[in-house]
């Protein structure tokens, strides 16, 4: 087996977070769950951050969540970037982007996962409003 060369390959080969990135390559959002306390967490870790448990497994997440907060990052041209904090339906919170229509965005808005590509070629989890324009 050849050594990973691109950043995307390195991510997928990571002994801790690899399964996340392998899922991402197929457009699937995966979360680590603790076999001891039965709680999911994100970002992936070698041990559960809630109880220290080592029996961690991976499950597909629903891809659904709600907006915990947001911040508009203006750009010289265009509409800028909408940074999101998303509370996943399963519990964990993560930083992401809102893509697509921003109309109606507020704290508590329902969002759903969609995938893009980051500047370094790795898969980029983003979200879009479930019901824009309301």
């Amino acid at each position: 087996m050849s050594e990973p060369t691109t950043m995307a390959e390195q991510r997928r080969a990571d002994p801790v977070s690899g399964p996340y990135w392998q899922g991402a390559a197929k457009g699937r959002l995966r979360l680590q769950w603790c076999g001891d306390c039965d709680r999911p967490h994100h970002y992936p870790r070698a041990r559960c951050p809630f109880c220290g448990g080592a029996g961690l497994t991976w499950r597909d997440a629903s891809g659904r969540g709600t907006v915990h907060s947001y911040a508009l990052q203006p750009a010289r041209e265009g509409d800028g970037t909408m940074i999101l904090l998303v509370d996943l339906a399963e519990g964990p919170r993560l930083l992401s982007h809102l893509v697509g229509d921003r109309t109606g965005l507020e704290i508590g808005s329902d969002v759903v996962a969609t995938w893009g590509t980051a500047a370094d070629g790795t898969d980029l989890l983003t979200f879009e409003l479930v019901e824009p324009n309301i």
Partner: protein, 395 residues
């Protein structure tokens, strides 16, 4: 006169050990995962679990204590990241013994991992997979790809949340910057001294919504220093001593997505402990230096330190006031918003707090100061440290 030095003899012990090594000289785990491995092994050796740990020491990169604590899922109330090369860990034991003996923490974890051979194999020359980034490999993997502007985006997310949750207005936030400018008007060394209005703040460009440029601290050159000594000796020196009546720190996360409640900072833990040590409350504070990296930072500090209830700092800033002649004189030299901010403002807070005890200031001395508070903030609302200084009359 005897020195007031703690007797640490037989007060603390090493109760668990672990190490990791390989005959090939290469380990297949590295970084935080390797630190977690040996940490759990040592705790198991001691008959303890990760949940028992409330103190953490490591000779790491800047901010690494927060990375490791976040990774392990612990929220220490004591940490020591002093870095003195190969003998660092002996120093950690010394510091941990003092901290343990005085009750600063109950279980201190000292941890170290470094894998240069394996990293070279895995990532090649000059590639460390983010380990050298100040915010650590987890930040590089999970937040950096989104291009968030550090640290302002994290504060913007907290400000947005505070506005939505408590009805805090942009005008109320701007009042913090206006008060700082009023103090700066009397500081001939302040970067910005001209008058500033709420409308000026709101009309300044959006940096990271909802924060405007005038909600954000300066970027300037600067330097500061303080000298401390024991209380018995301090009285024999030239100036009036500013006694450390209470001091405490705490941290909770590093990446903003890992902050439990965006409206509650670690100051909610450091503040009450510092006040308890000092035997006073927020009402006793005559003048306060509250880290003003952003206007929201000051509002959160006012609440977390107990100057007002949670959610009411916006109204406090407008109705009670932080400016000259108002209820809580704060950032009396103009603060990071108008005086200076060379990247880190924490030492400037202490300089101004001590000056106020002496009846001096970079700007305007507040009359009759006996209690002077300095409250620092670090990371992305990640670390807080509260120092309460007192005059001779408060000893």
């Amino acid at each position: 006169m005897t020195d007031d030095v703690l007797d640490l003899r037989a007060r603390t012990a090493i109760v668990g050990v672990a190490d990791a090594a390989s005959a090939t000289g290469v380990l297949d785990t590295w970084g935080h995962a390797l630190q977690a491995e040996v940490a759990h092994e040592a705790l198991a050796d001691a008959g303890l679990s990760i949940g028992d740990v409330d103190g953490l020491a490591l000779a790491g990169a800047p901010l690494e204590a927060m990375q490791v604590a976040e990774y392990l899922g612990i929220a220490p109330r004591w940490s020591d990241t002093s870095h003195q090369g190969g003998s660092s860990f002996e120093s950690h034991v010394e510091h941990a013994a003092a901290a343990l003996a005085t009750g600063a923490c109950d279980v201190a974890l000292i941890v170290y991992a470094h894998t240069p051979r394996g990293n070279f194999k895995r990532f090649g020359r000059g590639r460390d997979n983010g380990a050298s980034h100040a915010y650590g490999p987890a930040f590089v993997e999970w937040e950096l790809p989104y291009g968030a502007a550090l640290p302002v985006t994290g504060y913007a997310l907290a400000a947005q949340r505070h506005q939505s949750q408590f009805g805090t207005t942009p005008e109320q936030m701007a009042t913090v910057a206006v008060a700082a400018r009023q103090w700066a008007a009397a500081n001939p060394r302040a970067r910005n001294q001209e008058p500033l209005s709420v409308d000026d703040v709101l009309a300044s460009p959006l940096v990271s919504g909802p924060l405007h440029q005038r909600d954000c601290c300066l970027v300037t050159d600067g330097a500061a220093a303080i000298v401390m000594t024991r209380a018995e000796r301090a009285r024999d020196l030239r100036g009036d001593p500013a006694y450390v009546l209470g001091v405490a720190s705490a941290h909770s996360h590093l990446q903003i997505a890992q902050m439990d409640d965006l409206t509650v900072t670690a100051g909610a833990r450091s503040g009450p402990r510092a006040f308890a040590q000092a035997g006073i409350g927020p009402d006793d504070v005559d003048v306060a230096q509250l880290y003003d990296s952003f206007t929201i930072t000051v509002l959160l500090a006012l609440e977390d330190l107990g100057f007002c209830p949670k959610g009411e700092a916006g109204a406090f800033a407008v109705e009670q006031g932080l400016g000259p002649g108002q209820v809580l004189p704060a950032n009396t030299g103009g603060g990071g918003l108008s005086y200076t901010h060379p990247g880190m403002f924490g030492l400037f807070l202490l300089v101004e707090a001590a000056r106020q005890i002496r009846g001096e200031s970079a700007g305007t001395a507040v009359p009759g100061v006996d209690i002077s508070l300095a409250h620092g903030s670090g990371g992305v609302l990640s670390h807080a440290a509260t120092v309460i200084l007192g005059s001779e009359a408060t000893r």
